[in-house]
Structure formats: structure tokens, C-alpha cells
Amino acid sequence: MNKQSYDLVVIGGGPAGLAAAQEAYDQGVKDILIIERDFELGGILQQCIHNGFGLHHFGEELTGPEYAQRFMESVADRGIEIKLNTMVLEVTPEKMVYAINSTEGMLEIDAQAVILAMGCRERTREAIGIPGSRPAGVFSAGTAQRYINMEGYLPGKKAVIVGSGDIGLIMARRMHLEGASVEAVLEIMPFSGGLTRNIIQCLDDFDIPLRLSQTVTKIHGKERVEGVTVSKVDDNLRPIPGTEYFVECDTLLLSVGLIPENELSMEAGVELDSATGGPIVNEGRETSIEGIYACGNVLHVHDLVDYVTEESKLAGKTAAYFLQDKIDKRKERVEVIAGNDVSYVVPQQITDKVADRKRVDLYLRGRRPLENVRIIIKDGEQELFNKKERVIKPAEMITVPLSEKMIDDLNSEQIEIKIVKEGA
């Protein structure tokens, strides 16, 4: 076994891993290794050839590969070490990282700190249990995206898309532009799970119908998909008998959710949050194991890569401060609770004292679409924060800042963040 050691090992060379490594380097950690399983850095951005990335972070509109390229170059400029085509097989609680590639064989890497940045995977047809046959032609939207944009093949010519998450919307446009016909995008919820701009730019602009409160209830075809049965659903998302109709198609794409990929984290003993599917972290993105951090979609599924970058820089900085012994723990840790109409909040805890910090940002998602609400943070009976929001969508992440002073002045060990209708 090939034994190596690094101060910091970053698992995953997508946008999260790259930004984390870059920031840790800039904070003074020079002995860094990025481990990437694919043949190139950039992660899933490399197959996202559409534009719309970077508006917040760079103030300009980039494609996925362009956004990735900026970070790949900045990592290269810093001379940060990279292993491509390398799969991490195990991370131990003692931060021993076991990985393999075909040139060096099995690697046993002793790390002082580890940043988990493995991203997420797509929920499948099987996970949601769509009945019917199991022919060729059923793809998750991201897999279809890879086939078209990376491999150069069209997976079908007449498609139905289930789920109006962003990848589903992007792929509706992509299939259309490649000459396939997209019969419909079906969404089981009464609202879309995608960004508003994607509904306009990917569906409306191409006359692709979005059908809300509908889903596929049967897949037809023995060898290749021949069509799907679509049904309307009731308020409990159950198909309504009698509403079925048949749509002929040769392809079914699924965009029914993303799941943070935490199998390595679990084996390491990192505690997960059932609401995010990612690790429970403090405000510096440290997991339940000291010296192991998480950022990007492995932590929680983000709407925009710009926020992944922001969060990952924070994880990189905290890892650097940890290695430099610059972090003091607070006397009492503060739990951050997702309250009324909030599906989750990250971080779940505030535990550190950091000298040069001005504020802590809380990332949260609303549970359902709402209009004219107030976002309220309460410290026991005392209100820390109260702000009006005109529109809230589960698809779009909300950021709420807490100043360092507010944190210092907290009375209780638990703060609750909630969304309430105005006047309620």
C-alpha cells in the first residue's frame, strides 16, 4: 500500500472542493491534496454547458465549464496537488483516507484535516417507485445530460420529463435544441421545483408545456420505452383514478430530486441531518468529527453554484484556521432550529469564536411557496431578526445574516428560525 500524508485532503474536485482548496491555500495551508474521481476537475459543471452561472460571484454570466475553468486555473496557479481518476474508498474517523487509482494503486493517506466535497446524486425512478416495465429509455436527467453534452449521443427523440427541478427544465430545452420533441414536463407538486428563470427560458420560450399536479403512473414498453401513463394527483399527491391519459414517447427523463452523497461520511461516523441529507455542521462547516468539514451539495443541495463557492470558501478557511490552531470554541454551543415553514437550515449549530469574523450567514429553504411573509429568528422570547419577504419558493435558497454581536449577546442555547404569514 502506497502511504502518503497531507495537511489537508479535499475529497471531490468540483466547484465545492476547488473553492475550499483555494481558500485554504490562501489562508496559509500549502500541503493540500484534491482527490477527484473523474478524468478532469470541475465536477458536474463540466456537463452543464448552459449559461447562468456566476452572476453573484463573478458578476457575469458564465457556462458551467467556464465557471469551473476559473477555479481550475486558480488551483493550478497555486500549485495545489491533484489526483485525477482516483476514487476514495474510505475515510476513517482518525482522518485516514483510503483511495485507489490505476497508476499508484491503493493509497493510504494520513490527513490532518479533511474536506468532504463529493456532491450529490440524482433520485431515481426506482426510489420513487414508478410502476410499469423496465425498458431502455428511462434516464435520470443528469445522465441524459452527460450522454448528450459529454459523450455526444442523443438518448431519445420523443421525451417526457418527470419533475420540474432545474435539471429537468434545462434538459427539456437541451433535448428540444438537439432535435428531439419534448411532449411535456410533469410536476407532481402544484408548483415547480425549479428556478423561475429556468421555467421561462427553458420551457416557455420553446412552448414546452409544464403540467402541475401530474405524474407518470406507468411506464410502457418491453425493450424500449413506448409511452407513459400520466395521472393527475390530489392534494395528498395520490393519483386520481379516471384522470389517466397516455403519452407516446421513447424516452422518460427523471428530475425528481438530488440526494447528497454521504456514504463516505457515514462510514467515517459523521452525523447527518435527515432534513438536508448532509452532515450536521457548525457555522464553519465542521462536521460532528473535529477536523472533518463538508461543503457544497454533499452538505445540502444548493440552487446556485455561486453559493456553493461562498460556502466552500468558508469551509476551506475554517479548515485552515483549525490547522493553524486559530479557533476557540464558545462556552456553550447554540443549536439553530428550523421552525415553522422552514424545511432546513444550515449551519445547524454555532460553536466557534473566530477573531476576525463579522457575521454568520444562515442558509435556509422554505417548505412551500408563500407570499408576503416575515422571516423571524427568535432567541427564546426575544426577536433577533424580522424581515419581510414578498415571495418565498422552496426552489430558491434564502440567506439570513446574524451579526457577531447578535451571537455574542445570545441568551439561550437555541435559536429558532421561522417563516410566518404577515399579520398572522
Binding site: M1, N2, R37, N85, M87, L89, E90, Y98, I100, N101, S102, T103, E104, G105, M106, E108, R121, E122, T124, R125, E126, A127, I128, G129, P131, G132, S133, R134, P135, A136, G137, S140, G142, T143, R146, Y147, I148, M150, E151, G152, Y153, L154, P155, G156, K157, E178, G179, T217, K218, I219, K222, E223, R224, D250, E263, M266
Partner: protein
């Protein structure tokens, strides 16, 4: 092209391949034909994968006789064929006092069949074995000799070991017709004609259709669908044994069992269907499976499910038993049919029995002294220690490239599967042998890579790579192709 053989086996399921392997111990020309592009694509690929202990079937049936013997033979086969079997034992769980009589009945029946070490255990011991059972469980019949096996690896191993010992396996060779000649049968297949002295009908669901071709029309196969849910390995509900509810008059109930790869499997329901190729899952069927499993372990739900599938059992309704005999109506035609549960457990014993029938038909057979009983499976990277992995990748760098992250499958294993004695030709055939796509992402990440490796190894285009059947291509055409045609048309 016309071929001649002494014995022709029709059907590449676990029964046909086990017979092929058993016959390869003798000096005999054997050909096995299979209509699909791989072995193990019918009933053998979609079942509960149990090596039953043998307490269910009546002692006077073939099921009762062959199950226990088959189970016993697997102890030797697991070593010879390098197929992983876990001898985890089975429990039939009683929930009310009236169930106790049924447990006693099963115990007695099992003892008559010769099932070793059967016992009835009390509630306390039961919960030590299975802490996650619903609290209303009161006792169980415990059968420690029951096991679980990977039916894909098993069937491929039977077939490949047969090939290693001289059997010819012809895939995509559907039998279209059988003509009786004076001292042989002329079997017309999709790949040409074969003259066979003896035909063994192990065609599973289609065995009645085959038999009808030669006028051996004394049985009918009824397809019975069973549906399943398969869970992620990382499920926080531990199950240690194969758990059956107490069977009722109408149903054997839903089984809960770990698989050999430590996934949890629940199913099957029973639904008679018309169409022998109807493998569609249904809402009603899946719901029955889930409700049935929850009666034993109520914590089970959709959380952690990674796959639904269904299989068809090939049942003879009149007898509900196996039918294994030389046809009385047609000389040189042996039916090995109606092999539903416990067919997988019985397969090696069925093969032994068929060899005896062949001997009756043929006279004594001469043992082949060159027979090599040992088959080397493909390395299982996923089950290795890091040290073993380090050694493996030193042999061949392809074992250092992980293609399937969920199941930790290397490129080397996939190439082995394609280059094997019965090489994988489709995405599903690769999955059956070495598991890329069998995990939680169901091939979302690795399928494009598997397609590339198949295309490269087989020397075909990516657009020719199939999921399973002959019209199951995954990719339609190179991107932009139809757009370019469109431009040319409009010019």
C-alpha cells in the same frame, strides 16, 4: 450451418445450466441453446434468491424430495464454482396462538423431508435473533440450513463451468420448431438447425410451447407474477435471517430477507398473468408487498428503496409440483418443467435426477476423467480488504479504476465479465456478473462508462449497445445527426 449433438438443452436458466454442468462430467456432446443474449434472463434472474431449507413441500412431491438434497449440494458447489452463499437460516414467524399448530405442522413436514436442525424457538430467543420484528411476534420455526445466493453469479458459473468442460452454449438461439426424425430431433433455431439425439426441455415459462412442438402436450405453464422491493445496503433496519410469515390458505406471505450483497429484499406477491413476458410492476402489487412486509416489520417503508422488479414463476397448476421425466409420448424428449420455488434451491438435485434419466435413455454414461469441477469467479473488489485491493491492482491496473462508485466495481471486473467464457454482451449482463448499476444510483453515474467499455470491448458503436433484449438500445444516434440532416433537407 447444421450442427449435431448428442444432448441439446433448451433454456439457459439455473436449471438448464445446472444440467449442462452436471452432464459435462460425462463423455457426451452437449449444446445448450438460449433465446436471449445472456443466460439467467428469465425466472432465474428475478426471484427471492433463497436456498430454502425444505420444510414447506409435501414429502411425496418432487419439491419435497429435491429441495433438501439441492440445499445440501450447494455446500460443495459454493467452493467449486466460487459463488458466494450465505447460510443465514430462515424463520417462520408466528403471531398468534393458532399459528403455533402451523409451525408444528411445518416442523414435522420438514423432519419428514430430512431437513436438519429444525426447531421451534420462543419469543425471547426470536427477538435475540431478530430485534426489529413487530412486537406481536410470539415464536418461530427456525431452519438454520436455509441460505441465500446470488442467482446471477450462480447461473453464470454453472454455464461457464459447463463451457470450460466442453459444453457449447449458443445465445440468441430461440428454438423455432422441433421436428421428429427417425433417431434424432431436428431443432430449428434462430441461429440454424441442430440435430440432437436427446432434447432436454428446460425452457421455463415457455416449456409448454416447446413441448407442444413435438406433441408432448401433457402440461401447461401458468405464469405467476411476483413483485419485489430492494433496499439500499445502508438501511438502518437490520435483518439477519430470511423471515417468512406463517403461510395461510390463500398466500405464502411476503418474505423479508437480506440478499447475498446485504441489501434487504421484500416480496413477492402472487398474481396470475396471461402474458409470459409481462414483467411490469403494478401499483397494486407493490402496495401488497409493502403492506405484507410491514405486518412483519412495521418500520419498513419507501425510505431506502433502490429498486422494484418482478419475476414470473412457471407453475403447473394441476400438480403445483415440478415435472421431471422423459416424455411418455415422445422418445428422446425430457421435460424439466414447472420449476417454481424451491427451484433455485433444488437445481443441483434436479440436475442429478436428469442425469439419471439421461442414463435410462442412453444406457450408462462414461465419466469424463478430464472434468474440472473448479470455476474461477471474477475478483470481487467490493468485498476485499484494502491490502487485498492493493495486491489486485498490482496485477492489473484496470482494477484500480472504479467505474461504479455505489458498488465499488472496477474497470477490470467489467472487462473480465465481457471476456468471460460466456461474455456479457449487454449492460444488464454486465450488471448481473459484476454489479455496476446495481446500487443506489441505479447506474446514473456508471452507465455511460459501462456503455463505453462494452462498445470498445465488443468493437461496436455506442449506439449499438443494448440494455438487454435485441431492441433495447440505450442511445438513438450521435447528437446533432438529425439536426444536420434537417439542415441538408431544408437546403
Amino acid at each position: 450451418m447444421k450442427q449435431k449433438t448428442e444432448v441439446l438443452i433448451i433454456g439457459g436458466g439455473v436449471v438448464g445450466t445446472a444440467i449442462a454442468r452436471e452432464l459435462s462430467k460425462y463423455r457426451l456432446d452437449v449444446i445448450l441453446v438460449e433465446k436471449e443474449a445472456d443466460v439467467c434472463t428469465g425466472t432465474s434472474k428475478a426471484n427471492t434468491a433463497l436456498l430454502h431449507a425444505g420444510f414447506n413441500a409435501d414429502v411425496n412431491t418432487l419439491k419435497g424430495k429435491l429441495n433438501v438434497r439441492g440445499n445440501e449440494l450447494y455446500h460443495q458447489l459454493e467452493k467449486e464454482l466460487d459463488v458466494p452463499i450465505k447460510w443465514i437460516g430462515a424463520l417462520v414467524v408466528a403471531k398468534k396462538e393458532s399459528d403455533m399448530d402451523k409451525l408444528e405442522e411445518l416442523l414435522e413436514n420438514g423432519q419428514q423431508n430430512g431437513v436438519p436442525d429444525l426447531e421451534i424457538i420462543e419469543r425471547k430467543e426470536l427477538f435475540e435473533l431478530e430485534p426489529n420484528l413487530n412486537p406481536d411476534s410470539i415464536a418461530a420455526l427456525y431452519a438454520p440450513t436455509a441460505g441465500i445466493v446470488n442467482p446471477f453469479e450462480l447461473t453464470v458459473a454453472f454455464a461457464e463451468n459447463a463451457v470450460e468442460n466442453g459444453v457449447e452454449v449458443l445465445l440468441e438461439s430461440e428454438v423455432l420448431d422441433i421436428e421428429e426424425q427417425d433417431d434424432y430431433k431436428l431443432v430449428r433455431t434462430a441461429q440454424g438447425d441442430i440435430e440432437a439425439e436427446l432434447v432436454i426441455n428446460a425452457a421455463g415459462l415457455y416449456s409448454d410451447k416447446l413441448a407442444n412442438m413435438v406433441g408432448s402436450d401433457d402440461f401447461e405453464i401458468t405464469p405467476r407474477k411476483g413483485e419485489y422491493y430492494l433496499y439500499d445496503k445502508k438501511l438502518d433496519i437490520d435483518v439477519n435471517h430470511t423471515i417468512f410469515p406463517v403461510p395461510t390458505e390463500v398466500s405464502k406471505g411476503i418474505v423479508i430477507t437480506p440478499t447475498d450483497e446485504a441489501n434487504l429484499l421484500i416480496g413477492p406477491n402472487v398474481e396470475e398473468v396471461e402474458d409470459k413476458s409481462d414483467l411490469a410492476n403494478t401499483r397494486e402489487g407493490l402496495d401488497k408487498v409493502m403492506r405484507g412486509a410491514q405486518e412483519t416489520i412495521s418500520d419498513l417503508g419507501m425510505n431506502g428503496v433502490i429498486k422494484e422488479f418482478s419475476g414470473l414463476r412457471a407453475a403447473i397448476k394441476e400438480t403445483e409440483d415440478f415435472l421431471i421425466e422423459a416424455s411418455e409420448k415422445v422418445r428422446g424428449f425430457i421435460n424439466v418443467v414447472g420449476i417454481q420455488s424451491p427451484g433455485l434451491a433444488s437445481a443441483p438435485a434436479i440436475a442429478e435426477m436428469v442425469v439419471e434419466i439421461v442414463k435410462d435413455e442412453y444406457g450408462q454414461l462414461e465419466l469424463d476423467t478430464d472434468f474440472n469441477s473448479d470455476h474461477q469467479g471474477i475478483p470481487r473488489f467490493r468485498h476485499m480488504s484494502h491490502q487485498e485491493r492493493a495486491k489486485l491492482v498490482e496485477q492489473n491496473e484496470d482494477y484500480g479504476e472504479i467505474i461504479c462508485r455505489c458498488e465499488s466495481v472496477t474497470k477490470g471486473e467489467i472487462i473480465d465479465a465481457i471476456r468471460g467464457p460466456i461474455g456479457a454482451r449487454t449492460v444488464n449482463a454486465v450488471k448481473r456478473r459484476v454489479r455496476p448499476g446495481a446500487g443506489r444510483c441505479q447506474g446514473g453515474f456508471c452507465e455511460p462508462k459501462v456503455v463505453d467499455i462494452l462498445a470498445e470491448e465488443l468493437g461496436i458503436e455506442q449506439t449499438e449497445v443494448k440494455l438487454e433484449g435485441k431492441d433495447s438500445q440505450l442511445l438513438i444516434e450521435p447528437a446533432k445527426e438529425s439536426l444536420q440532416k434537417g439542415v441538408i433537407d431544408s437546403e
